[in-house]
């Protein structure tokens, strides 16, 4: 990364941060509308949950009052959220933000791990296909990845569990993170990462996109010049053909990966954000699910921000657009 890239990065960063803030505002508004439209007025419950419990207990609820008009409700809810108060869970009574962030860490591990798995599998296939074209080796691999991407991820989870528990004798007694009971307990925590990495449908998209982009770059004139010069082709091709497409496709697939995490967490009983969301939907615990929706949106936008930064760091001229 060149030193001269710092100023364009700062420019893009500030612009993207402003856009991200606006988008997150929109996200909060969408969530608000959904909750507002639902029968049974969950909003009073939500706002009450956001007041400190002491006040609620002392019956000051009627005195302080819950704002009646929708814009007042929205504003008070939003300001409370910006201060970190996401309300309290209906089921457990615990503050939402703390709980979500606690399990969100597990989901983060799952998500990032699965992205790595996807890349490890997809990148070699894509690069090989781009370099050699469609031949006897790359085509079956690509077809195989298409089939794997269409597998329902919950079923894949069962197969993997069955294989590992019955055939290899690793019993999933303790779930989630801290299984130190048996020798291979740590291996079991890799399973959901592996399943999500394969089963979330992004392998085929990554392969397709990366292969197309890399193929396009390989046909460019400057690569031909590099070859003629005897220079290393990869050194010139990797920025446009690899780095940018990979960050682009990963950033755009984060929502799908998070969605897949909901299912995988349920299958493996992984204590993450997705499982909490599923539980909350069953219990109609809307403060929790609302908090999770917003945190996921934040996560998605962070990924998008990261992608913009990488784009500008690699190609500082892009900031002029």
């Amino acid at each position: 990364m060149k030193l001269s890239a710092i100023r364009p990065i700062a420019l893009v960063l500030s612009r993207e941060l402003a856009i991200t803030a606006l988008l997150l505002l929109g996200v909060s508004f969408v969530v608000f509308i959904i909750l507002y439209l639902s029968p049974g007025d969950p909003f009073s419950v939500l706002l009450e949950g956001q007041m400190s419990t002491a006040e609620a207990r002392a019956g000051l609820r009627e005195v302080l009052g819950v704002p009646k008009s929708w814009h007042a409700q929205y504003l008070s809810w939003l300001t409370a959220m910006l201060q970190g108060n996401f309300g309290t869970s209906i089921r457990t009574g615990l503050p939402v933000l703390k709980e979500v962030l606690r399990v969100g860490l597990n989901t983060l591990v799952l998500t990032i791990g699965s992205m790595l798995v996807t890349l490890i599998i997809a990148v070699p296939i894509a690069l090989y296909s781009a370099a050699r074209g469609t031949n006897r080796v790359s085509w079956p691999l690509t077809m195989f990845s298409y089939v794997v991407s269409a597998l329902p991820v919950f079923w894949l989870g069962y197969i993997v569990i069955y294989f590992f528990t019955h055939k290899l004798g690793l019993f999933p007694l303790v779930l989630g993170y801290s299984s130190s009971a048996q020798k291979f307990g740590w291996l079991y925590t890799l399973l959901p990462i592996f399943v999500l990495g394969i089963g979330n449908g992004t392998i085929s998209e990554v392969i397709r996109y990366l292969r197309d982009e890399m193929g396009r770059v390989m046909a460019e004139d400057y690569i031909r010049t590099a070859r003629a010069k005897g220079a290393s082709v990869w050194k010139h091709a990797y920025k446009e053909g690899f780095l940018i497409p990979v960050t682009e496709i990963i950033a755009s697939k984060i929502p799908f990966i998070l969605g897949g995490a909901v299912i995988v967490e349920q299958v493996f009983n992984w204590q993450g954000m997705g499982r909490m969301a599923w539980q909350a939907a069953q219990d109609r615990d809307y403060p929790v699910i609302m908090g999770i929706a917003i945190i996921s949106a934040v996560f998605v936008r962070l990924g998008s921000l990261f992608q913009s930064i990488v784009y500008v760091a690699v190609n500082p001229r892009a900031s002029k657009e």
Partner: protein
């Protein structure tokens, strides 16, 4: 390097060659398989609606529980209550067929409107629609659906409306891109200078003649996604409830038996999901390559 082949399709845009001579065999295989799956699904749906099933899907036969595939009278075996799996699979299609069509219709309808607005008018419309696109893309679809379920009741039609709405940005950005590309072509300018009403230009010349392949492809992809959503949701327990079969809740019900080594309870619906989604995806992919890209590659 590939050996040089005379590309016979490059004579002109309106080449008289039948399309199967212009395309890769692979794409034809994709499309063929996809069409096969679509026909199978529609056919099974009709069978299911008219109750022309091999066996009654709710008929409990406690003497024949968890029979393997190939038992007499039960082509795919029976589940843990002795109900025929094949019939339940066929009826399970009803769980996603109409809702999926609803999702696809919503995605295409609103997507086209927004895409045309953004592409044809541009300017502030385009910025606003880009903003909305990014906004909708920020949510993981399943989380948004869980939010809707928590707020309203878990009605599959509400859910499919949400799925359709979340697909609107994708459709609209494709259409917008296409319109950008087409606006530069002469026929639009000609239409405007001839005084054709804007509605005609958009509806007839742009959409019908040029975008219909795009819309069909988006329809297949949208349907694949709707199927995946519905099966995932019924797997999680939010879709159709027992005893009504849905591919998702059949997998869920068979989960415990899976660990005991009795695979087919979960596997039959899972494989159905796999082949169906694969079929729609490949159909979209193949059609995409035939109709949209790869001319003379």
């Amino acid at each position: 390097m590939k050996s040089y082949t005379q590309i016979s399709g490059e004579i002109g845009d309106l080449s008289e060659l039948p399309f199967w001579k212009k395309t890769d065999v692979v794409d034809l295989v994709y499309v063929g398989y996809g069409l096969f799956i679509v026909t199978l699904v529609v056919f099974s749906y009709i069978l299911g609606t008219f109750n022309l099933l091999p066996r009654d899907p709710q008929e409990i036969d406690l003497e024949l529980m968890i029979a393997p595939p190939g038992t007499t009278g039960h082509l795919l075996g029976t589940d843990f209550m002795g109900r025929d799996i094949l019939s339940r699979l066929i009826v399970g299609i009803q769980a996603y067929f109409l809702p999926g069509l609803l999702a696809v219709f919503i995605a295409l309808f609103f997507g086209t409107i927004l895409g045309v607005l953004a592409g044809y008018r541009g300017g502030r419309f385009e910025t606003a629609i880009t903003y909305v696109t990014n906004l909708v893309d920020s949510f993981p679809r399943l989380v948004l659906i869980l939010l809707v379920i928590a707020a309203f009741k878990p009605n599959i039609y509400y859910i499919m409306i949400v799925v359709g709405l979340t697909n609107v940005p994708v459709v609209s950005s494709h259409i917008r891109g296409k319109i950008h590309f087409l606006k530069q072509k002469n026929f639009v300018e000609a239409g405007v200078s001839l005084g054709l009403p804007t509605r005609t230009i958009i509806l007839k010349h742009i959409l019908w003649h040029n975008c219909r392949s795009l819309l069909i492809i988006q329809a297949t992809i949208g349907m694949a996604e709707a199927i995946l959503m519905e099966t995932s949701l019924s797997y999680l327990g939010f879709g159709v409830q027992e005893p009504t079969p849905s591919w998702g809740n059949m997998v869920q019900a068979g989960a415990n038996y899976f660990m005991q080594g009795k695979f087919w309870l979960s596997t039959a619906p899972a494989l159905s999901i796999l082949f169906t989604i694969l079929g729609f995806h490949l159909l979209g992919d193949g059609l995409n390559n035939i109709l949209e890209g790869k001319r003379g590659k």
